[in-house]
Amino acid sequence: MILVLLGTNPYPFERLARAVDDLAGRLGWDVFIQSGHTVYDFKHCRFVPFLRREDVLAKVHVCEFMIVQGGCGSIHEGLAAGKPVIAAPRQPELGESQDRQEELVHALESKGCVIGLYDVTDLESAVAHARTFRAAPLPPNQIPSIIRNFLKVL
């Protein structure tokens, strides 16, 4: 099963939804979509607008790989579970988001952690890549210990 997370960003992300749905129909993929605020008439995929976090985690656990929007929440779920992640940044210019997501996807891609998908027409090759992709480890998160040390000297 391929899990697609469009996040809870209050803007539609139809570009990715359409690309996934078309390819799923053409190649017969089994796709589950958490579609968020994107209203799209999916013909070949199962979808739910919003999922509780536990349900998202359960889906992440059983999926083969993930196609997600470029938000840190969606990417994190995939990386934390060790699943290959294709990340498609939303474009503020196209009214898909307020924030720029491309920087994060670029940075993570250059570290070998995710597969960036900047043009949805490349989805098919990205998926082929994802089936064999092994994510590199991220730089370690030392922020909790920095905060702990700061609180200690208060």
Binding site: G7, T8, N9, F50, L51, R52, R53, G70, G71, C72, G73, I75, H76, L79, A80, D99, R100, Q101, E103, L104, H106, A107, L108, C113, L138, P139, P140, N141, Q142, I143, P144, I146, I147, R148, F150, L151, L154
Partner: protein, 371 residues
């Protein structure tokens, strides 16, 4: 500073009345007295010019004088030191950590925005003997360099600290001292060896006040700091929760009211604030909600990953003496977010998740990526 007295002199109305009447005017030196009278005159003129339209004759004068003198007591006085130290009514900052943190804040302010003419700042009173009780106040003296304007500037700085202490309910008792002989005359130097908390021309960080008085409590019985986490729902909230994973603290969370936001593990409570987005009107509502929340929780530390929802809480927190920790979201790789860039100057600890940002923002600390 004063010994425990008995009899009618300790009756609250007498104590407050005497303080209202004299306001330490006989204790302070003539420059600080002049500064105080100048401030009072400003309020008097303002009150008088307003009353000009409402109150006839001499009453106008009387009322303006009363108001100016009372305002002087409240805004330029040691009200909470009076309540805590002299009247034993009520007091905040009864925990040593809170008290010492406030003094550290004074040190940081003196260090960060030096006051020209200030030679040094010293703490007197029972603290110098290592005694910290429920009724302790901070006997602080700003020792000015010679010259009228030096004294004036330092007196003004003392006024600023008084005002700040008023709004944070901190029991402070602060005066400007203009010469060594005045210090010897007014302070019991034989019994009290002052604790220096600031020296003009000091290099490096200020001397640690926390250790100068009491031994640091053991890590186990150290109280957990009260923290408010405030940020937008979604990615911002996830980032901040990953950034504080496993940190020992008591935290409340303030975020948007969204149907799919549950209360995260470990949080004491979940509060909701309105999203200001770009509307000034909504920002005003958010600011009022934030003020109410901050006064209710009184956090020692505010932690945020930003977006506009956190601006008011962060700034109110700074005003109330809380520390601000800003964790830039993982999505900011080459540029700070707008909220991050704005709060960069206010944050006591500014953490970024990508090393490129440290070049542009030297105060930022690189902490790795939380993803």
């Amino acid at each position: 500073m004063s010994k425990k007295k008995k009899g009618w002199r300790t009756w609250a109305p007498v104590v407050v009345g005497r303080y209202w009447l004299f306001q330490g005017m006989f204790y302070m030196n003539w420059i600080e007295r002049l500064h105080r009278l100048a401030m009072e005159s400003l309020v008097f003129l303002l009150a008088w010019s307003i009353f000009y339209f409402f109150i006839p004759g001499y009453w106008r004068l009387v009322w303006a004088l009363l108001i100016a003198h009372t305002a002087s007591m409240v805004f330029n006085g040691h009200l909470f030191a009076l309540f805590k130290h002299d009247l034993y009514w009520f007091g905040f900052y009864k925990r040593w950590d809170d008290f010492a943190a406030y003094v550290a804040g004074i040190q940081q302010r003196l260090h960060g925005r030096p006051c020209s003419g200030l030679d040094r700042a010293e703490v007197y009173g029972s603290l110098t003997r290592g005694r910290f009780t429920d009724s302790s106040d901070l006997d602080l003296r700003f020792i000015a360099e010679p010259g009228f304007w030096n004294g004036w500037r330092v007196a003004h700085r003392a006024f600023e600290e008084r005002l700040r202490a008023l709004f944070t309910v901190f029991p402070i008792d602060i005066y400007m001292v203009h010469s060594e002989s005045e210090l010897t005359r007014k302070m019991n130097l034989a019994r009290e060896k002052p604790i220096g908390i600031f020296f003009a021309g000091q290099s490096g960080p200020p001397p640690p006040f926390h250790e100068a008085v009491c031994p640091e409590p053991e890590a186990a019985d150290r109280p957990r700091p009260r923290v408010l986490i405030v940020c937008s729902a979604g990615g911002h909230l996830m980032d901040v929760l990953l950034a504080t994973e496993g940190v020992e603290m008591d935290f409340d969370i303030a975020t948007f009211r969204l149907p799919h936001v549950g209360i995260p593990a470990g949080a004491r409570a979940l509060h909701f604030l309105i999203d200001p987005h770009t509307s000034l009107w909504k920002f005003g509502v958010n600011a009022l909600q934030s003020l109410r929340l901050m006064l209710k929780i009184r956090p020692r530390v505010v932690i945020t990953t930003g977006a506009g929802i956190a601006l008011a809480c962060a700034l109110i927190g700074k005003f109330l003496g809380a520390r601000l920790i800003y964790v830039e979201i993982s999505a900011s790789v080459e540029r700070l977010s707008r909220t991050g860039a704005f709060l960069y100057g206010y944050a006591d600890l500014f953490i970024v998740q990508w090393p490129e940002l440290c070049k542009q923002y030297p105060r930022a600390v690189y902490g790795g990526c939380v993803l």
